[in-house]
């Protein structure tokens, strides 16, 4: 019997798609495999070992820059998510008012400008402020990260709000709930998955940033990615593979969590 004619088939597409998935994962797989290489150089495979994970774990600079990365990401993601939630509440579920489009454009602006340009702009401004105030702490990095995290936190929260039914809030108001109580007991619990998704996106985006951090940081303020960038340029040992592998596992963990949080919303 002849096979049914499949209208969706396109010649060669399946093999190209498989090739594409293979190409996407080949480099990552290589990177991970070589993290377990028991050799001083990357070149030759000598046997399985966890040696380079120990080396990375005992490298004070790696630990220090990882902690700094997490601190910045945690504070920036939190600030960005709070302000993005407020902005999302202010820009959805209303008839268009003057300034609404302006707000959209403004909030999404960091997505439209190449990172290198923002980085240079911040370098210029912050180096001035550093001279004027004498302050050179983590505040600059946190401010910069918060700004570019805002649109990433804003998008899923806004999407969630737009799919939410206003009737429940109206009902709460009919039952004499104050605005604040309605928000706390009705809007917020419904909005929560969106906020969580926004928070995680912002966290990952901050954790991943190289370019802006590289330009804004003062001496001794390396984050994990900028530390790695410096090491890669100097020639590499499997230690970088080990750090990358650990980072990769963490990212996959967060993405998996994000995947499930955002899937639940139906």
């Amino acid at each position: 019997m002849a096979k049914r004619f499949d209208v969706r088939r396109q010649n060669g597409f399946v093999s190209l798609a498989i090739l594409c998935f293979f190409l996407l994962y080949l480099p990552i797989a290589t990177l991970v495999v070589y993290a377990f290489n028991d050799n001083d150089s990357l070149a030759i495979w000598k046997g399985f070992s966890l040696r380079w994970f120990h080396v990375a774990w005992n490298n004070g600079l790696v630990i220090e820059s990882s902690i700094r990365s997490f601190q910045i990401a945690a504070v920036a993601a939190l600030l960005a998510t709070i302000s993005a939630t407020m902005a999302a509440l202010a820009t959805t579920r209303t008839k268009p008012y003057r300034g609404l489009t302006f707000k959209y454009a403004f909030i999404n602006q960091p997505l439209m400008v190449p990172e290198i340009v923002t980085a240079v702009a911040l370098l210029i401004v912050f180096s001035r402020i550093k001279i004027w105030t004498g302050y050179s702490g983590l505040g600059y990095l946190i401010a910069a990260h918060t700004a570019f995290c805002v649109p990433f936190a804003y998008l899923p929260i806004r999407a969630r709000l737009e799919s939410m039914d206003l009737a429940l809030e109206t009902a709460a108001a009919d039952l004499y709930a104050t605005k604040w109580k309605t928000f706390l007991h009705v809007t917020l619990p419904l909005l929560w998955p969106g906020i969580l998704a926004g928070l995680m996106l912002a966290f990952v985006v901050s954790l991943d940033d190289v370019v802006i951090t590289e330009f804004v940081k003062s001496g001794g303020q390396d984050t994990l990615p900028t530390y790695m960038l410096g090491q890669i340029r100097r020639g590499v040992t499997p230690e970088i593979n080990a750090i990358s592998t650990a980072f990769l596992v963490l990212s996959i963990g967060i993405v998996t969590a994000f995947f499930f949080v955002s899937r639940k919303r139906t």
């Binding site: 597409f13 994962y25 407020m86």
Partner: protein, 306 residues
Amino acid sequence: MATAKEIADKAERDDIRSRWLLSAPALLIVFLAALGPLLIVVVYSFLTPGNYGDVKWQFSTDAWVSVLFERDVFDDTLSLATAYLSIFWRSVSLSLATTVLTLILGFPTAYFIATRPDHRRDIWLFLITIPFWTNLLIRTFAMQEVLRNDGIINSALKLLGITDHPVQLMYTNFAVLAGMVYVFLPLMVLPLYASMEKIDFRLVEAGYDLYATRFEVLRRIIIPLVTPGIVAGSILVFIPSLGAYVTPRVLGGGTNLMIGNLIELQFGQGRNWPLGASLSITLMAIVMVALLFYVRNTTRSDGAHG
């Protein structure tokens, strides 16, 4: 006494005012740490470079002139600054090549995902999302593992007996291109998938009923239906490619600069901040043109369907 209309108007005004207050923190932080500094870059591009970096507060258009021209040291005549122009040209052509290659690879991939049974699409999408959320630096470094002289490609070539000397792949335009295609591929697949998911396959069936070949169906039904996805994906790939900094720096070495690296040089060794500022604005202008092109295209196609 206030009429109903006045009360309604006042309620609306109050509502809009509280909406401005609510959005104020987000607007403020974006203004202070993203948009505002961009305006200062414009100012800096019209100043004179300081001796040790930074600027002197003296108006000058030298930076802008030297984006395009070179002043001859002896007779003060201007000629085209071929060094910078060639870097701009390399950036634009590498970004276009990246866009085309990601489209060629991404189109069948997105189509493949969109034509899986419903319950299996999520898992394929997830496989695209993982590299997308993996640190860009790590992905670039992973590409280095593949391309270096003792990396997979060269080992494979040696094993197959094709060459006995490693082929130099790192620090070439090819390495930068391969890296950018690799890094930006998910940005092409995701919007393509979003528009392919919505294809009504009854149209495709109708095409076959009218004796179309598979290629005709692809060219005259599927591609026109997913054009918004193609445009969105191309913009999403083209813009970050143009401003790429990490990938050319890691894979391209010192000689295969792109605009991003040229800008960084002005703030590092070059010590010419105004030139760096004017190069940044030039880059942003090119990006804005690309975005305008995108906006015009999307509004037009919306109009055609709606």
